[in-house]
């Protein structure tokens, strides 16, 4: 995958296809407030949180435990 780099100012936006819009809502110091409008079947997450969930799911899925020996 390649990366397209664009410069945007406050309140400007980017369209991805005709259904996704990303707007710059605020800039304060090293923080940028971004608004994302997308169809409901597109999940939007902070990357580090999504990766943490992926990792936890992978860990949970990778284990093989003795299910006869789990507490009840």
């Amino acid at each position: 995958m390649t990366m397209l780099v664009l410069t945007r100012k406050l309140k400007e936006a980017i369209n991805i296809g005709d259904q996704i819009e990303i707007s710059i809502l605020g800039i304060e110091g090293d923080q940028v407030k971004i608004g994302v409008s997308a169809p409901k079947d597109v999940d939007i997450h902070r990357k580090e949180i999504y990766e943490a969930i992926q990792k936890e799911n992978n860990e949970a899925a990778a284990q093989y435990v003795d299910i006869t020996n789990l507490f009840d």
Binding site: K40, D41, D43, H45, R46, I49, Y50, A52, I53, Q54, K55, E56, N57, N58, E59, A60, A61, Q63, Y64, V65, I67, T68, N69, L70, F71, D72
Partner: protein, 148 residues
Amino acid sequence: MLIETKYLGEQEITNQKLLSFPLGLPGFQEEKSFVLLDIPGNGVLQLLQSVQSPMLAFIVTNPHMFYKEYNFSLDTPTIDTLKINEEKDIVILSIMTIHEPFDQSTINLKAPIIMNAKEKIGKQVILNQNDYPLKANIQIPQDQEGGE
């Protein structure tokens, strides 16, 4: 239909038991069909077994057994995706990560699995409004229930 499972050998599954996960799960986006299986002799834990991948099964539990005050609201896209009309149709499960000894195991309160039991649709929802932990201890401190 007959499916191969990670823990319970071959299982006969009726179509009514099939759960659709249209978005898959984070890390398992191609896994769109699961089934919830009881663990014989265990009334607390269940298995969320992939229909297409025999070796993929999560151990899941009702988080309210461990955290009575666990609660959150669902956003509109989730309610739409799951076609939820009535609150009573909602089933909440948490994925458990097993550790030895067993009481060191954790449940994922940050990203519960929400299901519409009536429509048989599920989704793992990432809660952004709440500060619930990804690895919540299954032992509840006596003076402090709920999230960390």
